[in-house]
Symmetry: C2
Subunit: 207 residues, 2 copies
């Protein structure tokens, strides 16, 4: 089985690497990093990740995981990328996204009339793309699965791993990556954090 | 502030990218990917991550985050790497590790007599390196902080972010990465999973 993860400048690294760390451990599975060109892209904080195939070279992966990041704003108007997403979706077993990756699926017309989620800060944008925004961490609509912001891709990928194989295998991968989360703070949900945390998050985003 | 994350062949990607996604968002902070040479390394599942500096080029980062993976077995006998770790530790504000990265800190002699943790599957190895193995997710001993397996680096980095700045900033980063974990299964802890999950995890590790 092949899993395609698109990479592009201003990608958010964890959006991609959370699902990668889960799905690359599935038996007989190859995760392919796909980009507009071969070679490194730079994430929104400067990390270099290597694209090993071009969009033209891989059009029929069984699974698509579209990550987010500021770079998706550009991709939402990129016909090469949107055509590729539409083509992949015609034969994929699962078409999935993390964070603002769902805005690219939406721009490609895949989310019309479907419930979907994205990063909390841009949730209303999904409605502009014809989807029904939902404040859940992982939203399944048939073979389309969207996940909320950044770290939610880990939860999504474990759900997906169980669909692709079986629950025991998904649980074994959860154990391998020791995913027994113990955040030191309870501050991961926009609807329940304090005003000063929301304000600081906005300040950090403006750097 | 500069944060150094060493990269090497057979690194586990999420060990590095979890902390990266948190620490790269701190104000006035640069995360530098450090390797034996400039250019891409390949993680244990084949992902290409670019090293942007060599060990010789960055010897005084304020923070060290040493990730794990099978590649650490080789690094534990690599005098260039161990000397670098010792040198960095003399001036660092924090010397930290994720997963089997703590075995490299141990091999460098940094954990002598200290409580420390690592991936559950190799916890006893810490004792051979002079440390006191602890089954906790994040273990702080002065400026040395060790985290358990793979995904635990996210929890460690949020704790570290609060030390380096303040709790509001750490909470704001948690919100930005929407770290409100909702694993679909409760299977991330070796001491509580069922025997079939442990067996499947061992099978997957042997691929």
């Amino acid at each position: 089985m092949r899993v395609a993860i698109p990479v592009f400048d201003q990608l958010t690294a964890l959006d991609a690497v959370g699902p990668y760390e889960v799905l690359s451990r599935l038996p007989d599975t190859e995760v392919v990093w796909v980009g507009q060109d071969h070679g490194p892209i730079r994430t929104d904080e400067g990390m270099g990740i290597v694209a090993d195939a071009t969009f033209a070279e891989l059009t029929d992966p069984e699974v698509l995981v579209f990550p987010g990041g500021f770079g998706t704003r550009r991709l939402m108007r990129d016909d090469e990328v949107l055509d590729w997403v539409r083509q992949v979706h015609t034969t994929s077993r699962y078409t999935t996204s993390v964070c603002t990756g769902s805005l690219v699926l939406g721009a490609a017309g895949l989310l019309e009339g479907l419930a979907a989620t994205t990063h909390w800060s841009v949730l209303p944008k999904l409605a502009e793309l014809g989807a029904v925004p939902v404040t859940e961490r992982v939203v399944e609509q048939g073979k389309i699965i969207t996940a909320a912001g950044v770290s939610s891709g880990i939860d999504m990928a474990l759900t997906l791993a169980a669909h692709l194989t079986d629950e025991t295998t998904a649980r074994a991968i959860q154990l391998q990556i020791e995913y027994d989360p113990q955040p030191p703070f309870d501050s991961g949900r926009a609807t329940t954090v304090s005003a000063d945390v929301l304000e600081r998050a906005a300040e950090l985003a403006e750097r």
